[in-house]
Amino acid sequence: MRSSLISNSTLLILLAALLAPAMQVFAESRFVTENSKAASLKSCVAPTDQMRRNHMDYLQHGRDDTVLDGIRGIDYSLSECIDCHASKNQQGQAVSVTDEGQFCQACHEYVAVSPACFQCHRTTPDTQAGAAKLGHHSGDSDPHEGLDIQLPAGIQRD
């Protein structure tokens, strides 16, 4: 057997040592605006890494279900994104998610995409239409409950 400079066990330890902090940073980095409902929740309707990568697909499927087939109260509802992620200013008024540095805008600007969602959809929570009445999550039962990122062994989440 070929002798190598680094033994198998040393390599394993090295890998673990490299991966653990990287994954910890990845798992715990979150962009949630202050004073938003999302800031008080453990995770989104799906684990954060999945939401980051796939939210556009989830929304697109959801929109077709709702518009074409009339299925409401879906998990991936844009109005619920807004309800949860819109922050409030010092006067307690909702701030648009497309304002500078806000939840949607910050990331979309960084990756240089211009989604057309907000040509039609509002960018602050709708307090007048009675979203709870319309079969969306009313807040009594938390859809985020019991849904958390399953972290690699050895990584603690606060």
């Binding site: 057997m1 070929r2 309707v45 074409l68 009339g70 299925i71 409401r72 039609c120 509002r122």
Partner: protein, 250 residues
């Protein structure tokens, strides 16, 4: 002793592969949780082909000078005018008809008639205009390119075009510049099981009871019973569109 073989050390490869597989499993695991969660969540069942939603409007009861249904519709869907009647969005409009020979006047409200064979759907080049399985004719704004063929095709002048950029729309009716729109039969309420449109609610609250919403396919619904026992008409019945909105005492 040195190994001259150019074969890779499989022990070493297996171990690295195992480490990668272990990392992969962790990232796949949340997907399993996600799937289970989305199944357990309660979403409404959606449109059902066994219904056909329709409306009956009693021209006699439609009170002159009343605009309760129009106001309720505007509030419900966040429709705001810009003081330009020719282009402002109108989903429901009061119309006065006068027979020039006899002088008899009729008042009624006109909106999307939710045809069984909608001309707007026929002409739409992008399939944005569509009829749901339960008979409600809608515009999918994700597909609408604002060509306005449907506005030309509609015999009832039921559709509006949005000329201005909008903000702070109602969640009941997301809407924006460059799309065509019309009465949705309060589809957000129907999907939620609320069997009363905003206009009907307002008309009833005003004490006029001129608007009746219901299931045309259900023989026991109030609208079906009334249609069976009275002489209702379709507007432009000659076009054979089989409208979902019918009129009484016209």
């Amino acid at each position: 002793m040195s190994n001259k073989s150019d074969q890779p050390n499989m022990d070493r490869r297996k171990m690295i592969g195992g480490a990668i597989a272990a990392t992969g499993a962790m990232t796949i695991a949340p997907g399993v949780i996600l799937h289970a969660a989305s199944v357990s969540d309660e979403a409404s069942a959606g449109a059902d082909a066994k219904h056909r939603w329709g409306m009956l409007i009693d021209s006699k009861k439609c009170a002159d000078g009343c605009s309760a249904c129009v106001d309720a519709c505007n509030t419900e869907h966040g429709l705001e005018g810009h003081g330009r009647p020719a282009t402002d969005a109108v989903w429901i409009r009061p119309v006065k008809l006068k027979d020039k020979q006899t002088g008899r006047e009729n008042r009624l409200v006109m909106m999307c008639q939710h045809c069984e064979h909608p001309p707007c759907v026929d002409v739409c080049p992008t399939n944005a205009s569509f009829k749901r399985v339960d008979g409600i004719v809608l515009v999918d704004r994700h597909r609408c390119i604002g060509c306005r063929y449907c506005m030309m095709a509609c015999p009832y002048k039921a559709r509006s075009f949005i000329h201005e950029a909008l903000t702070e729309q109602s969640v009941n009716a997301p809407r924006g510049k460059g799309c065509v729109e019309s009465c949705t039969l309060c589809v957000h309420r129907v999907d939620d099981g609320v069997m009363q449109t905003a206009c009907q609610e307002a008309c009833t609250n005003e004490g006029h009871d001129a608007i009746l919403f219901g299931d045309l396919n259900d023989p026991n619904s109030e609208i079906s019973k009334t249609l069976k026992s009275t002489n209702s008409v379709q507007i432009r019945a000659d076009l054979e569109l089989n409208t979902g909105v019918r009129y009484l005492n016209l």
